[in-house]
Symmetry: C2
Amino acid sequence: MDLQFELTSEFLAKLRFAIETQEDDFLRSTLDDLYSEDIIPILYELEIHECKYILQLLGVDIVSRILPNLEEKTRNDLFELYQPAEIAVFFNEIYSDDAADILNCVPIKMREEIIANINDTQLALNINELLRYDSACAGGMMAKELIKTNINWTVKQTIEEVRKQAENVEKLYSIYVVDDNDVLLGRVSLKKIIISKDKTAISEIYEPDIIAIETYTESWEVSEIMQKYDLETMPVINVQGKLVGRITIDDAVDVIKEQAAEDMQAMSGVSTRVEEDDSIFKLVRSRLPWLIVGMAGGLLGAAFMGLFEQKLIIIPAMAFFIPLITATGGNVGVQASSLIVQSLASNDSFEESTIKRLWRVIIVAFINGLVICTIVMIFVLLIGHPIKLGFVVSISLFCVVVLASIVGTITPLLLDKFNINPALASGPFITTFNDLLGLAIYFLVAGFLYRL
Amino acid sequence: MDLQFELTSEFLAKLRFAIETQEDDFLRSTLDDLYSEDIIPILYELEIHECKYILQLLGVDIVSRILPNLEEKTRNDLFELYQPAEIAVFFNEIYSDDAADILNCVPIKMREEIIANINDTQLALNINELLRYDSACAGGMMAKELIKTNINWTVKQTIEEVRKQAENVEKLYSIYVVDDNDVLLGRVSLKKIIISKDKTAISEIYEPDIIAIETYTESWEVSEIMQKYDLETMPVINVQGKLVGRITIDDAVDVIKEQAAEDMQAMSGVSTRVEEDDSIFKLVRSRLPWLIVGMAGGLLGAAFMGLFEQKLIIIPAMAFFIPLITATGGNVGVQASSLIVQSLASNDSFEESTIKRLWRVIIVAFINGLVICTIVMIFVLLIGHPIKLGFVVSISLFCVVVLASIVGTITPLLLDKFNINPALASGPFITTFNDLLGLAIYFLVAGFLYRL
């Protein structure tokens, strides 16, 4: 197969022509060369009836690998073209966690019809169980497919069990060990099973000390635990300690990526999780709130400066340096806060006291502030402004750098305390606040120096 | 063991007292309750000789699990207190990829001494091989520990091989299949081995179609492939197609997290990868460059406004709205660019044409611009400014929103074309540029309207 497959418009044109002219052999041989992951972007470029045409040429196994990774919209559009019974056929080969995720996205009536048409009663039961859980907790992340063995069994009995169940379980690294009541006791690795004698008792070779989580654990915590303890799979237990599912690392990776994307959006002032190709309305709605916050800040700044109108009339050159002051405050604040946000996210260090943190931040700000205000002082004098204005701008800049650093450090720590995503603090929030702070400092310093 | 362990200052005080009074039994029983991942943050809080005291109480297996995850500085400080031969003992239980990573961080003399003292000659050879690779490519990510079987063998022979090698390989999910020249042919899962008869030929049950990468593949590409194709491990081959190592998903997860952190820093104008607890000098150096860029922008703005001094003297109220104009330009630019950065990072969609992208962006900007400039117009009139000024501010804002959106969209696409991290575009770069753009628009609109 072709790992380096790249979707070109030429390839697409050929494909569409083949669909139109129903050259099934050509289509089949072309698609056979591709991984299911590479077929997905192709589907996005086709009309929905063309997608259906292609899916009908592919085996059920390929389609069932494509469906879970398809975008919700495309998938739901496709489902409209199928009967529930036809869709249910694909579900026989989809893992229970993916199946529940897909069904969570379709209208309730269709959901019930699909489930009713699934032949595998165990799978239907599993899906119904998973649908109960919130998708943002361990129960919503887990799959029901796993292999377990009884603590009282031998290696031979376990291998028999693997033979029976293994077809349903793809990512199989270890076998969970339970007691007669299904309570999780530990695990035994496939490696141990392979290298042990048939008669060996599972109780002799299993590892009792394993990390398991409960169904209600939040997904970010699940992903943190899997990363921290370097786990590929983690068993999920219910409140009675019974084994109810397992989570694989790929689900945790999705959570990590989703979180990084969310932080980035928070930092850039986009309020709801959007993608570039969402509807115009959604895109507008996601951006307007923070733009209005920024605007409110700007208007407040305008009102504030109104108080100093006389000063601006006497020294109009003061206006020239307003963007410098506000921009520096914003930049310094974002730099400071992003460092705190990252150290909060990595979360593995003992919580340093806020005082100790601030102290370092202030020293760094002092040095940066000195460098910047020296350069600016030179520039102001070179360009021929009076030395007094030079002092006003330099002293203000220095104060802005120091104060904005402090604000940038404290804000994310405060937000985190109140369980608000601290990444928000690195965004328009800090910028707006520091704009106002900068203006206030600038005009106060000017007021003070020009009175001397 | 205690999964929910939380490091408190009380716990630390107790621990330090026990170290001072050499209460080894207490220390041992306390540490036995902890996972190695939870011991690490404790070490960061202790003096280096206290760390050594603790490590000496722990078994070699625990220490060798701690060392790879320890921060470079702490680890190197610790190594100073040991003889190379003592350090080499730990290496006998560390995976070759982690071992190479650790040795890449110590002085060359120490590196050679440690390697010379490693008893396991195969491990020493493996480490030496891995040290040759750049850490940012597949060769630098891979471990040498893996299990392979010959295509001509049977299941029984393979199981014998697993028995022999399995002790060295912890994360074992599949066995690679090679020919007599070690050329990678495919893989066979442990599951298949377990459920197949002893006499079955490997050639009958192996999967020939597997994804492998070459040693020189860059690490971000490795991590992308592993995510896309949902792989837990991936074999690494050399240019002759020979199997030389394997990469596990945890290494790919590290790359994903590192990239997210890098993007966030790029966005916040912190130029080199720093952590909150780096040295003051490093922190200053990482921040100054972008602050100076921002400052240069501010000074350029000041010089530009100097051209309009007469206008500011006649209409001093024009100065009031400068922060509003610059802040809005910055915010809009960052919002627009972050969306492009994210869609570039997710990388799975067919590349939309820039024109199509821009079109959507402009529509969104139009709507946002209209809302904002209406609100501002109302405000300006309410506060009692002349209607002409209201028009100047509103029209400028509208233009700024539209143009800043376009700049925010094009810049990351351009940077990406030139292989520069597009996240940089969401940072001070865009803000600075849009500040200037905003000022230019504002004064040009004012110049035009006031001449009427």
